[in-house]
Structures are given as C-alpha cells and as structure tokens.
Subunit: 155 residues, 2 copies
DNA sequence: CGCTTTGGTTAGGGACATTGACTATTGTGG
DNA sequence: CCACAATAGTCAATGTCCCTAACCAAAGCG
C-alpha cells in the first residue's frame, strides 16, 4: 500500500513490487473471465467465479472455500447459493461428517472449467514466448518459493 | 480463473501462475494495511486505502485514480470524499484546467505514507533475504518485463 | 461560434461482505 | 456416557462498495 518514495532500499527496487505482482494477476483474471463470457458463461459475476475456481475436483467444504477466498462463511455461502442456482455446482451431504456438506462441480461447471483451462494455456504460452522459456521457468520457481512465506493457507 | 487440471502444458507449470502472483501481492497489501492500523491509521477501509495509494506526490486527477484502480469515476469520487473528510487528501482546483481538480496528499496522509513506506521496506528486505539477492532482482526484472504486455495503463 | 470531448458530480440501485446470534453434529475429558 | 467445547453451516440485518444513467461545465477544435 502506498508507493512512498522516501527511505531505505535503492529506488530501483522500490517501484512497488506489490503492484508489479498484481498487474499480471489481474490480467489473467480479466482475460479468463472474458473468455468464459464469450463462450456463453455470462450469467455469473466475477465474485462468484472467484469462489467457483476454488472448488476442488473432489468437492470442497464451505469453510475451506471461505478461507481460501479470504471471506466469511456467510459470504461464501451466498456465492455458492447463486452458483448452485446457475447449475455450476451442487451441495451434497458429506458422508464423513454429518454437519458438513460437500460442494461439487456440476455439468455446466465442468464445461466452464474446460474453457478457462484453455484460456489459461493460451496466456501462459504467450508469456513463455515473450519472456523466454528460461525466465518463464524462473518466474515460476521464484514465485513458488515466495509462496512459502506469504501463503497463509498451507497448501 | 478456475484451476483446471486437464489439457496442454506440462503440469508443473499449470499450477496456477495467476494465484502464485496474487498470493504475495495480497500479502504485501494485508501487511501494510495492518501496519497502518497499528500505527493509528485505523479510520479508513482497504478500498479507500487502495485509492489513496494511487495519489501521486504531485497531485492526481480523479480520472487517473479511477483508471488506475480500475473503477468508475463515481466510485473513486466517493472514496476521495471519504479520504478528504478523514484528512488524508484535499481537492484543489487545477490551475491548468478549469474543469479539473487536483487531489493532493494532506498532512495526515503524508504521515501514513511514511508508515506504509517503512512497512514495505521491511517486507522487501525479508523477501530479499529469503530469496537471495540474485533471485530477488530477477523477480523484479521479469515482472517489469511482464508488465509491458499485461499493464493496460501505459506507464 | 456551434459541436464534440473531457473532467466531475448527483442519484439510485444492486452486488458483495461483515457482525452477531443461532442450530446441529462431532469429539473429548471426566 | 454425559457435560462441554469446538466445528460446519445457516439466518438476519447492516454497511460498504461499485455500477449505470443522467447531467453540468470547461476545454478544444473546426
């Protein structure tokens, strides 16, 4: 927050790494969202989509979705309600825990995942071509490393 | 969006680069926001703070803030209203254009920038120590490069 | 000068996310 | 085997954010 220009650290490196991280992130998000819309998945919102993307292929608990998306269970629940009404996911009772429910991907959701997947491939291929394979791989490695000290959710 | 597991590209690299970018970004944002709160700047919200961080030391036009923050002028205007009421910024008539107004940082805002600046330095120092100077610099360079094809706002 | 563009504001509504209080199931220690 | 704490999720009310639409005024341009 705040791109201060004073104090410590050589200026070259202060040019907001936070923003530098955010910009390409948003680029992928925007582009995938647009790809989905163009493919006919235009009945959901970005916020709903963000929750959907966290649903594991094996089904997820509401609590986990909420944690990962950094929101309250209540908020996540509303999103899931909507996604369910739209046919992207379904809630099933969790056989291993009577309190819990498993949110699983439905037919329409599966088709959306396919489209998004393809869009992501395209983006990554472009980046790879632009950065060169070497730097592209390095970026991956460094970010993975960084994740270890910045990801609040184990992984 | 959507972390698909099928199709193209070797799996190693598909582990969502988007998320990998987002996680450290959010880490910096969260931590700076907390640092500000702890320092007594606890009367604003994250959304207001996000707009504030875009205000240039020389003053910014509303339109520019809105563009950079990817929101409408109307939304940005509300944020600025609030920031102004809280004493972080002030609107001045723009001498070079009778229609426009310059949003400039006020005393309280300047103090906040200082705190945020210090927090950012800390974070970057930690990352540098963890990644090693070499990789830290590389990360910067690669992200800068990536920005050229992903930043919708020139710079 | 008219006309278009550009910078901002006002008004109203919808989407998102939070806090607080509640139910029900699970697990645990006495 | 039962009181008790912790956990999964819901309901209700509220507030914040952000958008569309409509508008005003200054600037730029033919």
């Amino acid at each position: 927050m705040v791109d201060g220009t004073e104090s410590g650290m050589d200026d070259e490196q202060r040019i907001d790494l936070g923003v530098s991280l955010f910009i390409p992130y948003r680029y992928t998000e925007d582009r995938m969202f647009r790809a989905l819309r163009d493919a006919g998945f235009d009945d959901w919102t970005l916020a709903q989509c963000r929750v959907f993307q966290r649903v594991s292929p094996d089904g997820s608990r509401l609590k986990d979705l909420a944690d990962q998306a950094q929101m309250t269970k209540q908020s996540a629940s509303v999103m899931v309600d909507q996604l369910e009404r739209l046919g992207y996911v379904r809630r099933l009772p969790d056989p291993s825990d009577g309190r819990a429910r498993l949110i699983v991907i439905e037919e329409r959701g599966r088709r959306a995942v396919e489209v998004a997947s393809k869009a992501l491939d395209e983006i990554l291929a472009e980046w790879k071509a632009y950065l060169g394979t070497r730097n592209f791989t390095l970026l991956h490695q460094i970010l993975d490393q960084l994740r270890e000290i910045t990801d609040p959710y184990a992984r």
